[in-house]
């Protein structure tokens, strides 16, 4: 009897899983023993890390997008019809348009979303670059900015943990290039007691920020923003004035997850090694959707997806398990417009930061193009 693999979510994680499964299950797809269906929210696929470059005019909008139909293997049944409810008892997913999809194996890859509306005043007063509209508005704001106080404000939880550091260093160079750095004060705020959750990144960033004249305030968790008085207030009691507020808004998972009772805040309780939803052996979770206490980042999603593909393909073909996820994450870090570095770690190996170099920056620029091979399951 044919097995149906249903993938909910058409972003990076879901797309890599779908394409990777097609590569491994060719014979089963040809014979009809397996079918793969994906439910997504858009007919375009966005390279989200590229949004970092948009405010500085260093990546054009069209470079961020491909048609999802051209990214996905043709053997995948793709529906632009987001999931509305997941019923794990009946093993079915209903969609916004009213369709119902049954599954034998379910892959939850619903991702995360920014929630500026969860903090009073943030949506009205702040800029961000974590979605296209925000990146466009920030690009305009930076182009018009002539000097003053800029606050780069980071909130928990958020995905792509190194992006705020990258943005801050790129902002410094952007303002220098514009000839107004001496008229600007940059202050970076962070929720915990150091500049970055990754201790080596925090240790590295401290002296770099000091050298570049970037101020910082740690233990800063945003309570509210005053759009009229142009101040931002922390839960810890600090009030900071700004002329331009760039925020990394707090994130939540997809509404379909919490509304289906699969996890508070849209994060699904997930086994850290098998990537099974806790309590289900037919449901896998991948990417930002998990509640695993590791970075919510594209690389995490990619490495998880590789493991999930091997396990799901092995289960279908041989009825056995292949391997476990080791917590691997790898993040490039732009340290300006001409140098870059990276950090990698897993459950057992502490992170280290490589010395920044021009070559690593070029490698990151190359990956911005190579991503499309990753999405297709080739890299």
């Amino acid at each position: 009897m044919s097995k149906t693999i249903l993938i909910v979510g058409g972003g990076l994680a879901g797309t890599i899983v779908a394409n990777g499964l097609c590569r491994q299950l060719g014979a089963q797809l040809r014979s009809g023993a397996v079918s793969i269906t994906m439910l997504g929210a858009s007919d375009t696929h966005m390279y989200q890390p590229g949004l970092l470059y948009v405010p500085f005019g260093r990546m054009r909008e069209h470079e961020l997008f491909r048609e999802q139909s051209r990214v996905l293997d043709r053997r995948i049944h793709y529906y632009v019809d987001p999931a509305k409810n997941v019923d794990v008892e009946k093993k079915q997913v209903s969609t916004e348009s009213g369709r119902t999809f049954k599954y034998d194996y379910l892959v939850l890859a619903t991702g995360s979303r920014i929630m500026p509306q969860s903090i009073p005043g943030m949506q009205e007063a702040a800029h961000w670059f974590y979605d296209l509209e925000g990146a466009r508005k920030l690009r305009d704001a930076l182009n018009n900015f002539q000097g003053g106080k800029i606050v780069v404000n980071i909130n928990a939880p958020h995905k792509c943990p190194v992006a705020p550091v990258e943005f801050t260093l790129m902002l410094h160079e952007f303002l220098e290039g514009k000839g107004i750095r001496d008229k600007c004060e940059i202050t970076y705020t962070y929720p915990i007691g150091r500049l970055h959750s990754l201790e080596p990144v925090a240790h590295w960033a401290g002296p770099v920020f000091e050298k570049l004249g970037i101020k910082s305030e740690i233990f800063f968790n945003t309570e509210s923003v005053d759009p009229i008085g142009k101040t931002i207030t922390s839960m810890e009691g600090s009030v900071m004035p700004f002329d331009l507020l760039v925020t990394i808004p707090p994130h939540e998972g997809a509404a379909v997850i919490s509304e289906s009772g699969l996890g508070k805040g849209g994060w699904v309780p997930t086994n850290t090694k098998t990537l099974h939803r806790e309590g289900s052996d037919d449901i896998f979770v991948v990417g930002d959707t998990t509640n695993i206490p590791i970075s919510k980042a594209g690389s995490t999603a990619h490495f998880e997806a590789d493991v999930l593909i091997d396990n799901l393909a092995s289960l279908v073909q041989e009825g056995r398990w292949a391997r476990e996820y080791d917590g691997k994450a790898f993040c490039f870090i732009e340290t300006g417009f001409s140098t870059g570095t990276y950090v990698w770690f897993n459950y057992q190996t502490p992170p280290t930061v490589a010395p920044p170099s021009q070559m690593l920056h070029w490698f990151k620029l190359a990956y911005n193009r190579l991503y499309w091979l990753s999405a297709r399951g080739l890299l």
Binding site: P157, I192, S197, M235, P250, K264
Partner: protein, 76 residues
Amino acid sequence: MAERQTVDARGAFCPGPLMELIAALKLASVGDEVEVLSSDKGSVNDIPAWVAKVGHQFVGSTELDGYWSVVVKKAK
């Protein structure tokens, strides 16, 4: 009714125990408790220090088999 949830942040290099606690408290209701399991001894000091700053309630910490359990109650 108040709930208690456990965040297992043992061995988590990023985002780490305190960031996980902050995220969990945002989703909790007033009166709920969050237990953080951490293999970083620093959490025993960091977490109570932050909790005092923002006005939540530090319930206590316990050393277990190579890790620590730190419990916080959401107070506001």
